[in-house]
Symmetry: C2
Subunit: 406 residues, 2 copies
């Protein structure tokens, strides 16, 4: 009998009606002859509510008592899901991080799962009882609850699937991953299958349908992962399947076009070498300024040019830190540009394919979109462009790579 873990996030648990609908989806899967387990997040808004209380009492993320408060959110929602399944005539039982247990280690607020007691789940599932597991949490060696960080329920779901030999359906508010944002390009199509790496690139770039660590974990444990919508009728979400790259029939070089708004570019000119770069990124790390793209080139005169992109919100801090280096590095000049956006072409078929880059530059040039900075990874080419031209760039690239063909 095939086994399936269904994960329902906060919006899928956003009140009794949403919970009842998610229960109907789980019931549908069980009716198809599958042994089912369910992993849930706290009800929408609940984690923020509890965290707000904790913060106003001097506690923040990364504090053990805060974790105990937050973990209550998933305990309650798991119990409510169990009730909803029982109301449909199914057998169900709440399982928490402490009751199973799900063992974790590491600091509160960002703990790692080290072991899941699979046998009790195994027994329940064989007895036809649906375990409803509180996500996002586990028990540490001191017997205290610790949470896994934002999106940690995805990780719980994948880890549970690995522990009981199940496939894993992550339910969210979109019917899978799309070739680009349908709000920008209405012709965007659902991606049927995608590799773990391409999924990671899309997730890291703002298409936050899956938590990064959960994708890595699924890849490492060879767990079949699907992204589906809990806002469709039971059985109606086709979703996107995340599969081993080797299993992909590589019909398509490019999987999708992603984007990120509110980007800024920071340039260091006339720097005396790697020392300035090291000092800059050390200062950024200390000040928690997140750096995205980094490019380095040698200018015709005056040494290396180092450029990086940061969020527009972080730019003032980043600029101040960069200018603070001027006293240490003679001749250092700082420049910046804001109001930019990043557009990225992602696909496992990109590796070494110069034609993909050629298309990107050609298409953007024809659209009058100048590329301010570009960087590539194994499966991604990203370009920083004028923010006002972002949507034109996304639509043009989406069309040029033939993504609208479905």
């Amino acid at each position: 009998m095939t086994r399936l873990v269904l994960k329902f996030g906060g919006t899928s648990m956003g009140g009794p009606e949403r919970i009842a609908h998610s229960a109907a989806i789980a019931a549908h899967e069980a009716s198809q002859g599958r042994e089912v387990a369910v992993v849930v997040s706290a009800m929408a808004g609940e984690t923020d509510r509890l965290l707000g209380f904790a913060e106003s009492l001097g506690g923040g993320l990364g504090e053990v008592e805060t974790d105990t408060a937050l973990a209550a959110g998933e305990q309650a929602s798991a119990a409510l899901m169990a009730l909803a399944l029982k109301a449909r005539g199914l057998k169900a039982q709440t399982v928490t991080g402490w009751s199973l247990p799900i063992l974790v280690e590491g600091p509160p607020g960002s703990a790692r799962i080290t072991a899941i007691a699979g046998e009790p789940l195994d027994e329940m599932m064989r007895a036809g009882i649906i375990p409803v597991i509180a996500g996002y949490q586990g028990l540490n060696a001191k017997g205290r609850l610790a949470t896994l960080g934002r999106g940690g329920t995805d990780l719980t779901a994948v880890a549970v699937a690995a522990a009981v030999g199940a496939e894993c359906d992550i339910y969210t508010d979109v019917d899978g991953v799309f070739t680009t944002d349908p709000r920008i390009a209405p012709e965007a199509a659902r991606v049927e299958r995608i590799s773990h790496d391409a999924m990671l690139e899309l997730a890291a770039m703002g298409a936050k349908v899956l938590q990064t660590r959960s994708v890595e974990y699924a890849k490492a444990k060879a767990v079949t992962l699907r992204v589906k919508s809990s806002f469709l009728a039971p059985g109606q979400s086709a979703g996107t399947e995340v599969v081993e790259e080797a299993h992909l029939a590589e019909r398509r070089v490019v999987s999708g076009v992603a984007y990120m708004r509110d980007q800024a570019r920071l340039s260091l000119h006339g720097a005396p070498g790697p020392e300035a770069a090291e000092a800059l990124f050390a200062a950024f790390a200390e000040a928690d300024v997140a750096v995205d793209m980094i490019v380095q080139a040698r200018a015709r005169a005056g040494g290396a040019v180092i450029e990086c992109s940061v969020s527009g919100r972080d730019l003032p801090r980043a600029l101040a830190l960069a200018q603070g280096l001027a006293s240490r590095f003679e001749g250092l000049e700082t420049r910046s540009e804001t109001g930019l956006a990043k557009v990225s072409v992602v696909g496992t078929g990109l590796r070494g394919r110069a034609d993909v880059a050629r298309t990107l530059y050609g298409v953007l040039a024809r659209e009058g979109v100048s590329v301010r900075m570009a960087a590539t990874s194994e499966i991604k080419i990203s370009a920083l462009v004028d923010g006002d031209l972002l949507e034109r760039a996304v639509r043009a690239l989406h069309g040029a790579y033939g993504l609208a063909d479905g």
Copy 2:
């Protein structure tokens, strides 16, 4: 070193500000050289919110998954209290029903505490760590959470106090028990000390400052119990101490005057004997009609008169049930009267003291308040009077027994 358990109910935990204030009270007690533990309820409204969700998903009280959902409320509030204590520079740690554990048995929603692991609490308190214990819940033999029923956090507090050899302060929104309702008689005075039995009578009659089982438990385990207000500055609530009757300097015969509005009287005349009474109360029990006072007398003619009081809300159902008996008992006549109220004089000094009854009848007669029905227990005399005259009756009795002298 003396030990003290402080219990904070829902209103004392009604949001971050209230929690911070309750933490200040606990900190004050710790600063007086006491080893302190704290037991908390869920934040005000939280249990009702979670129960509402559970009910709309087909779960009610008495269902194991509902209990798991409800118990999350105390887990969160305990963690928030621990944070608030830490913010004051104290050491504190959340303790839940499952983590200690607090062992319980019996049905979900009305479980009984069977054992509390006192040693971990003992160790924490000796190490200067304040255990903050989630009330209202425990772990049953199946490893599931079960709740103790409404007011169960009082019981947790008393049981914890018994387990660690502590006294127990129950914090609520009133500064102890009063000789009567200050809204009716502004001269009402705080009762400094009261016996467990008198406290039980007052609690059962609507002065719901303490849960009945917790008072019985405190009496059985000889735990010193105080009722205090968390709405005063730390150290400012004198409160009421519940003590062994033997320890009471019986300066006072009467402890207080309690009342209950919206009462009704139901009379059965011409009944052929105890069979009719039995049939009536069997019908009430089946229909969940709560009967309060029951009196029986022999009328000059026509056999016994049986009278009982029920809430005005229950009267229509009670009356229909009584009239339904007419077909089975020939000559049975039913009468009823609504718009009544009950006034009760409570005190351990009442036993066998006819003068207390004499005063009651005399005072009410002088005030023009006719007694419709009266009943006595060991430590209480209750009279059913016209609801419109209730306040006059309460004030007159309160004055007549010298309760305003403080």
